[in-house]
């Protein structure tokens, strides 16, 4: 691995996706739990308000990742989004109704109105969680790409046992991650219910991850590429997930959350390491895969974008980190509710 500009951008996009999975991961999880853990309107409002100040900023990570793919690897952007057309449409619809739902649900008192938007938040959180998993499965497994970098499959080519396992796994991981976050940000009843979810779903998510890892070795070329000893990163990812379980067991939820964040980040790293230097694997012919070289922008554009990214990514991290500090308090009966 030579560390050139193309590799730098591969790493930067991995970082943007890490930001997305770690941050939006928990607010997707909280969104999925909303209709089940909030029994009354007051409780539901509190649940939404735990992610209220964050969800919009979190979502920008994926939009920036999309923009960065366009700027740094235009062929990746073009092939992926025209190829996964209907899946992406579904994801966009989910994200649109979800964003509208957060802003609109408490702006009218009609119970039917609120219940409808609450379910929109549920679907708007569950569908992208599932689809991102399916997308990752397909990136690892490979999709039909021809010699001209065109995706030549259809929507149903994206669905296979392996990619569906990937989807369900990610959904369960987000659910666990979100339940831990909710536990940290809520009080009394909701906190108690969140703990029940963590303890019930956490082990299932861990089993799902194991299944996914086995599937990855069986259905993709990760085994051939990473070898029997896959290196430190994937091993630490698994260790972090198990560590999260141990902390949950000892009721140290803060540490458990740190562990699920680490597990998420290292899992994204593992996925990108399995791909490198490819960005989309062709299932038709290995030579037709998109790589960080044949899909990329010019060195000039990559240089410009590197300067911008190296200045602004730390700034964004600083002010988003500050936001989490400002809104670190639990959302309880005394908190003024905005949403």
């Amino acid at each position: 691995m030579t560390f050139d500009l193309n590799t730098l951008w591969f790493v930067l996009i991995a970082i943007l996706f890490t930001g997305f999975f770690v941050l939006e991961g928990f607010d997707f999880g909280v969104g999925m739990l909303l209709p089940f853990l909030g029994k009354t309107d007051e409780e539901r409002r509190r649940i939404i308000n735990t992610i209220g100040p964050f969800w919009d900023g979190n979502e920008v990570w994926v939009l920036t990742a999309g923009g960065a793919m366009f700027a740094a690897f235009p062929h990746w952007y073009a092939t992926l989004f025209s190829g996964f057309y209907l899946a992406l449409l579904l994801m966009l619809v989910a994200m649109i109704v979800r964003g509208a739902a957060f802003e609109f649900r408490s702006k009218d008192r009609d119970p039917q109105w609120r219940a409808t938007w609450d379910w929109m938040i549920f679907f708007g959180s569950a569908v992208p969680a599932l689809l991102w998993g399916v997308a990752i499965g397909n990136l690892l497994k490979g999709v039909p790409i021809d010699a001209n970098k065109h995706f030549v499959g259809g929507f149903f080519d994206l669905l296979s046992p392996y990619t569906l396992i990937a989807g369900v796994t990610l959904l369960l991981v987000f659910l666990t991650h979100g339940a831990i976050f909710l536990h940290l940000k809520s009080t009394r009843t909701i906190r108690h219910r969140a703990a029940v979810v963590v303890k019930a779903v956490g082990p299932v998510a861990t089993v799902a991850i194991a299944t996914f890892v086995v599937g990855t070795y069986a259905w993709t070329d990760s085994f051939a590429r990473l070898g029997v000893n896959p290196g430190l990163v994937p091993v630490l990812a698994v260790a972090a997930m198990l560590g999260a379980g141990a902390f949950v067991h000892r009721n140290a939820m803060g540490w458990a959350f740190a562990m699920t964040c680490v597990a998420m980040a290292l899992s994204v790293a593992t996925v990108f390491m399995s791909l490198y230097p490819r960005v989309m694997v062709s299932s038709l012919n290995p030579d037709w895969s998109l790589t960080i070289y044949n899909a990329s922008s010019t060195p000039y554009t990559l240089t410009v974008m590197s300067v911008v990214a190296l200045i602004f990514v730390p700034i964004v991290l600083a002010y988003q980190g500050w936001t989490y500090w400002v809104f670190r308090h639990r959302v309880g009966p005394d908190t003024t509710l905005e949403y």
Partner: protein, 466 residues
Amino acid sequence: MDSLTLARWQFGITTVYHFFFVPLTLGLVWVVAGLHTAWVATRKPVYLKLTKFWGKLFLINFAMGVVTGIVQEFQFGMNWSEYSRYVGDVFGAPLAIEALVAFFLESTFLGIWIFGWDRLSSKVHLASIWLVAIGSNLSALWILIANSFMQQPVGYALRNGRAEMTSFLELVTNPHVFVQFPHVITGAMATAGFFILGISAWQLRQARDEENRAAFTLSFGIGATYGLIATVAVMVVGHSQAQYMMRIQPMKMAAAEALWDTENPAPMSLFTWGDERERRDKFAIKVPGLLSFLAYNRFEGEVRGIKDLQKSYEQQYGPGDYVPPVKWTYWTFRMMIGAGIVMLFLGAWAALAAFRRRATQSPRLLAVLVPAIALPYIANSAGWIFTEMGRQPWIVFGLQKTADAVSPTVTGGEVLFSLVVFTLLYGALMAVDIYLLRKYAKAGVTDINLHGALGAAPASALEGAR
């Protein structure tokens, strides 16, 4: 319809819809920030109430701008993959920078503003809304840098079968940006001005209690001043933009005037009913020399017509039809300018009434300002349809044709399906959004909390009656 036509409809519908919400965000945020500053500086309750009143309408509108913007980030890849491949090296950069530099800023600090009322010192909290204002307007700047490349490509070279960036500096200092960005921003401010005027007028017509009357008299004055100044500005910069366009895209301006033949001095059309296929007028009313005047600030000077330009484009770019849809460009150009002229008149009337402290004494003025909220929306939409359709057949002027830009692997059925889904979804959300805007606009300032949060649904009398 083929997938090209459908993809164009989809881009048109999703973009016009997106830009239905964006201008109000861009223009209103400065007013909310100004009112919030006035509250922090003076501690007069009316400023806090107005900050929250307009702030809430701002948020309802902002949400729609954000969710419709998500589609914009991805649809170049979905429907226009060949465009993305051909110009991604240049066009992708401003789009990515917009997300990284501007979108993060506005989204994160908006969260802080909404939730920070009792968590932050009042000055830090105030700073957050200013950062939202800067972030959202910076966002517009980067998007217009991207769009300006489509209107007037600069800073690139054709190499390796695509457009490759050669100068980032040239890209961001594209002269087109300097005429387009001020036009869009002042247009956005005018939108906000008329939005504030219309709602204030509605409130004043209800002649409710003293508190509401005072608050909305003040709002009326702000809206009138802001709306009038912005309308004058949008016209002045629009005029220089049109003169600039005469030079870089003469075909767009010829189509805007349905000017078939080159003329000197050139007349300006007030009304033309023409035959687009035969390229001739059937019926027309024209003012002699006026087009030359608009183009060159004097009553003579050659303005090239559609037929001549078609010939010279054929020589330059090879055989093909280089004439944009004349009916669309001609009428959208007139809708934009017509709406602007009415806004100028109404803005002046409202500003005069506000200045003489007689805003509440003219029922006719108050009555007409409510539907006048629609005028800037008409102008904004018509303006974008004009400038984008007037560039056809090009997606990037002189560089790539729209027909060559569409995704080859996406089927017509898929595009049709997504077009239907987006149209229905957007339609439904638009209805909800307008319902909420009306509800909160009508609620007035009475129930607004002086302490803490913006608050969710008000327990107003209006709500009980719903």
